[in-house]
Each structure stands twice: as structure tokens, then as C-alpha cells.
Symmetry: C2
Subunit: 248 residues, 2 copies
């Protein structure tokens, strides 16, 4: 059973190599997508090479819808998007993958069914397929080398679907969990270093001492230190002192 | 010669299979990236399997920097980011791929050199490698199935680099180029249909005629019609009339 997470279905239109179908299944499941539809696969169905390649995502192939034609694949959909590498003569909205998956997410949230079409490996979707879509998704590849394969195109689209769900880990989120040192701890660290380094004769020559002190103080404040960092830096200094004392 | 487009270098750390190195080169070049550095590849260098897989992106392998150790790879870099699948115990900023490539783009714009590290296929980067990076890049994969391979990780990062460059085709841009009909043309189209359908007895029964007229008029206004669409719709109606007349 596919998960009941609301999501677009990914429709592989006349796919050729089983390996690519399997790799597409893996790419989908990497981003939590598990509704695949396969239209008239060249080498029949089920396809043992697809199964071998899919490994951990084999369930998607078992549960895939198999249909004979594209109209059948999208019959119950409200909104259909076609991935293409080339621009077409057709007047139709062209979305970036990001914008496309935002569009998909908002339509799905309203209860619509959305499908994304992926063409056969060699030639991509035909104009007749694209004419059945409400919009085109264009991946911004290097025009000198637009060589995305089927599974890569599925991967990027799935990735954008995942991004459209939000809650992506990012610096703000993750660093917020760190156990940051408080200012008083930074202050005590600075004092500790100031005191010991004064004893050690670090602030020399005299006329530069003031500037050196300020720079050092400033450095401690500039660094994003955790409590553990502060303890470690105290430890470093204590150990140097111990080492010096042993040497006497 | 690599292009002189400012860009991060992608550092493959102890990669194993030649095929994956070749696929990584293709993935990079798909997004216009061509500065690869290879650290201690398991099967030596050059690697014929990498060359075979890279096909159109083989130049990246010819021009790749080959080094023995990670410190050597990033010696001249100002900012280093490590891609990892798992969270690490290390306190370090964790970026989404999007945020990471925005960070890379802004640092590169300021003249900094930026590197992105990709680990070996089986186990990924070691903690010792990650400790050398200034930040971590975490791809938001399905926690139940986090099976991105090396080339897929390179692909997603390259894609985000491309996105961070802006100028991605999107609906606004592309549909703006369409030759949209002006309101007067829509108006004339609506009149044409109104007139002919009145003759044809379409607006029936009488007490519903007003509502039917409004709905039809509203439909023409709601549709994003180009000049060509309008001409085609006029043609459809004219042809129906001709056909009717022939029948008499």
C-alpha cells in the first residue's frame, strides 16, 4: 500500500530501460514519494531489471499503476505537469522545478490530484504528450550539456517536492540546538587568558599591549563558542600552565 | 581549461568506483560546474571507467586536480562545506543545499574560494574530514530511505548552485513572451459567439438565456488567450457556420 501522504503521482511515459525505472523508484522514495504510474513500458511489466535496481524502493514498482496510454494515466487528475528539456512551441506556463512543486503542493492541499510526466529516456515526451499537460516543468540545465537522465529528472523534481513541504533543516534550526556559552562565560574566559598571558609576558612590547589585549578580547566575542568550547579553551590554558610548572 | 566562471570546486574525497566519478562529472557539467578535485581515488588515476561514464563531461576528469589528502585539496580555500547524510556530533552550522549554495555564491562574489566535499560512496565522509569543514550540507532525504549516491548528491548540489545564480526560467518570464490577445479582441470574440449562438438557438430556454450569456462571456475573460487562440476560436465558429450552410 502506498503511504497516505498527499503527494503528486509521478508518471513514467513509455520508459525504456528497466534500470532507469528502478532508479526512478529509488529517487522518488528518497523524498518520500511512492505513487508511480507506468505508461506502456517498452520491455513489458513487471520488469526484473527495474526490480533489481530499485532495491529498497521495490515496493513502489509492486504498487505502480500500469496503463496503456497517457490519457488513461491522468484521467482523474486536475492538474498535469510535463517535464521537458527543450522549449516547445506550445503556449503553456513554464515552471521551474521549485515553482512547479509549490504549485503542486498548493493544489494538493486544496484536494486536487496532480501528476508529473516524465518522458522516455531517448527522446523525452512528444509534443502530443506535452499538449495534454497544463504546464511545463523545465530544469535549468547547462545549455551546452543538457544530459539529465530519467532518474535524475525524477530526483530533482522529488527533491523540490520535499522542499515544498518545508521544515528543511537549516542553520537557524540546527545551531539553535547548540548549548551556547553565555556572555559571562566568555568574559571569564577572556579574563583567564588575559591574566595568564600577562604572566607569560605575551603582551609585549609595552606600547602594543593595549591593542593586543583589545584584539584578543574581540576575538573571543566574535567566535560562536559553545559551553564545551569554553571549557576546552580553559583546559588548554590550564594545561600549558601545568606543563610550564612541571618544567621547573 | 576549466571555464573561468566563478564557482565552487567540488572535491570527491576518496571516491571508490570509477563509474561514480564519471557520473559525478556529468552531474557537475549539467549545471555548468567544471572544477573537480579528486582526493586519493581508490582505483588510481586516471580511471578508464570514470572516463567511459563521463562521456560529454570527460574534460572535467582530464582537468581535475588530483591530490593525496583533504588538507591539500582545500589548502587555498576560504570556506569549505561538507555534504553528509547523517547528523554529526560536531557543532557546526548545518545548511540546506539551497542555503549552502547561496552562501557559496555570496562568498565567491566577494572573491573567496569555496570547496564542497563529497565522501566516498560506502560510508561517506569521516568525522575527521567533516571537522575540517566550516559548515555541513544536509540533503533533506526521506529518513526511512536516505540512499543518495555520490553522483546524485553532486547533482542536487550542482542544481542548487545553478539556482543560486538566478535567471531561472519561470512562468512569469516565459509566458510574458506569449502574444496575448488584447481585451478588445476578447470582446469581439465574445460578440461573435454571442451573435452566432443566438442565431443557432443556443441560449435556451428564455429564462436561462441571460445567465448562460454571462457564463459564456465570463469564460472568455477567464481564459489566458493568445492572439492565435482567438483567431482559432473565430475559425471554429466560422467553420461551423459554413458547414451548416453547406448542408442546406
Amino acid at each position: 500500500m502506498p503511504t497516505d501522504t498527499p503527494q503528486p503521482s509521478f508518471v513514467l511515459v513509455r520508459p525504456q530501460m528497466g534500470e532507469n525505472i528502478g532508479a526512478a523508484a529509488r529517487a522518488m522514495w528518497n523524498f518520500g514519494l511512492d505513487r508511480m504510474c507506468v505508461v506502456a513500458p517498452r520491455d513489458g511489466w513487471p520488469n526484473p531489471k527495474a526490480v533489481a535496481m530499485a532495491s529498497g524502493a521495490g515496493r513502489l514498482l509492486d504498487e505502480a499503476r500500469l496503463v496503456d496510454s497517457l490519457p488513461e494515466a491522468v484521467a482523474d487528475c486536475h492538474f498535469v505537469m510535463a517535464t521537458t528539456a527543450r522549449a516547445r512551441g506550445l503556449t503553456k506556463p513554464v515552471f521551474s522545478p521549485e515553482r512547479a512543486m509549490q504549485e503542486a503542493a498548493s493544489r494538493i492541499a486544496e484536494g486536487q490530484k496532480v501528476a508529473v510526466l516524465f518522458g522516455p529516456e531517448r527522446a523525452g515526451l512528444e509534443n502530443d504528450d506535452v499538449a495534454r499537460a497544463n504546464a511545463i516543468i523545465n530544469v535549468p540545465v547547462n545549455p551546452e550539456f543538457p544530459s539529465l537522465n530519467l532518474a535524475q529528472c525524477v530526483l530533482l523534481t522529488g527533491y523540490e517536492w520535499r522542499r515544498a513541504q518545508g521544515n528543511i533543516v537549516d542553520e537557524r534550526v540546527d545551531m539553535a540546538r547548540a548549548d551556547w556559552a553565555e556572555q559571562i562565560e566568555i568574559e571569564k574566559l577572556a579574563e583567564h587568558y588575559d591574566e595568564r598571558l600577562t604572566q607569560a609576558g605575551f603582551f609585549f612590547p609595552e606600547h602594543k599591549a593595549e591593542g593586543m589585549r583589545t584584539n584578543l578580547r574581540n576575538m573571543w566575542s566574535r567566535m560562536p563558542l559553545t559551553r564545551a568550547d569554553v571549557q576546552m579553551l580553559h583546559g588548554v590554558l590550564r594545561q600549558m600552565v601545568r606543563w610550564k610548572e612541571r618544567g621547573r
